[in-house]
């Protein structure tokens, strides 16, 4: 059965999650990427959306404008989360956001932030932008539109948004860091074995 979390997320919801868990999200999900992070942390501007206990998505969507200042989500795939690594710990502290969704892993600063302020990082499968768009029920608002379509903070009401794979939990674990260590370890004997079979220069 699908495990579905609903916003606002409680600390208890978050503490229950461990790396490798698969969950789905229902409620409010706000897109937030490079410039929004920089404005809050470096330029010290306050965010136009209250993210307390909500979830953010590192993504730059394709949105189709509809009449009466409404919008339709066409395509919303996750972007590489690592670009936000240098801001995320402070971002979690200031906003109270509970779930950060993106692509690929994040680093030790985010791990520290997730542990200190009880939050998680999760990945949505990269390249699955249309699937994600079909899980957006409605775009409820758009803030900081001066940033252009990809960087605007799109406020989405989502239903069973996922799969979301927990990559950093609130207990100090980092799935991608663990995996990378495993891959590098496995690599050494394999390269040696292949090397013996490709001595074409002799």
């Amino acid at each position: 059965m699908k495990k579905i979390l609903t916003t606002p997320l409680s600390d208890e919801d978050i503490r229950d999650l461990h790396i490798g868990d698969v969950v789905y999200l229902t409620g409010r999900l706000v897109t937030c990427r490079d410039v929004a992070h920089r404005r809050l942390i470096e330029l010290k501007r306050s965010l136009p959306v209250d993210l307390d206990r909500l979830a953010i998505l590192h993504a730059g969507p394709i949105v189709r404008p509809l009449p009466d200042d409404r919008f339709e989500m066409v395509s919303i795939g996750p972007t590489t989360s690592m670009r936000m690594e240098k801001f995320e710990r402070e971002f979690i502290r200031q906003t109270g956001v509970k779930m950060i969704i993106g692509k690929g892993g994040m680093g030790p600063e985010t791990v520290a932030g997730c542990q200190e302020f009880t939050a998680v990082h999760a990945v949505f499968p990269g390249g699955c932008a249309v699937l994600a768009a079909t899980q957006v029920e409605e775009i409820e608002g758009a803030e900081w539109r001066d940033l252009g379509m990809p960087e605007t903070l799109w406020i989405n009401r989502v239903k069973a948004f996922g799969p979301l794979i927990i990559s950093i939990d609130s207990h100090g674990n980092n799935l991608f860091a663990d995996n990378k260590a495993t891959y590098n370890e496995r690599k050494i004997p394999i390269v040696e074995r292949i090397s013996e079979q490709v001595r074409f220069i002799s």
């Binding site: 394709i62 499968p125 249309v130 995996n179 394999i190």
Partner: protein, 303 residues
Amino acid sequence: MDTVSVKPSPAETLTDVMARFTAYIGKRLPNDVSDKLAQLRAKETKALAKTVYDSMAENQEAAKRLNRPSCQDTGIIQYFIKAGAKFPLLGELEDILRDATLAATKAGPLRHNAVETFDEKNTGTNTGRSIPWLDWEIVPDDDGATIDVYMAGGGCTLPGAAKVLMPGEGYEGVTKFVFDVITSYGVNACPPLLVGVGVSSSAEMAARLSKKAILREVGSHNANPNAAKMETLLEDGLNEIGIGPQGLSGNSSVMGVNIENSARHPSTIGVAVSTGCWAHRRGRIRINADLSYDILSHKDAVL
């Protein structure tokens, strides 16, 4: 009143075909790639990896149903042309492909991905200096043209690397280079990847061949027996690492490894790696002299 029907010029006809083909490949994966993904999905035993493969399949279904580009990153547009020296529109082809990119950008719609370097401005049209990127090969006794269209997304372009090795490092050095690139940078490039390896003389020669390699069909082999053996060794070895879809670990890492090669200087081995992501959006079309065409990469495609 008489109606005057203006027949489109040959250049207009071909522009229209190429625009529609370019937009089309952003929505449907080529047969070899979707077959391979279906195979990997069926063989996968890890629950997490299965979930990801399921999402990929659902996404491609949704892209088809809603007629939308399957990934939001529709890349930098590249055309790899094998043109007959007697192809009637040879001289016009460059303009035709640029116009086709402009039209596909509107019709797709394709994301605006062409940023002028140094000016650092997005042109908003997917065209710019040398973009779309054209790669030419001229075939002497031919009056048609075969064109590969490729959408080079950001994530799958990032791992690209080239290096010139000393011959003492041998094919052992080539092996290490490929593994280092894939384990360091492959994880974020949306695996399972199609890995292209160029083995040549200098950096740019190897780099071009590595890109040509990922235009070759998944599962095809280099004609040289040693190169073909190395393709299989690298493929099996990378799969043993078990990077899995999206780097979340699984039974495989790659859709395959394709090697393209040339002769080299006695003192150098040029090696390069290019990667295609699971959403490896490329298409091959054969244009005949009378401008009729056959789509070779996607059976049953209707433009």
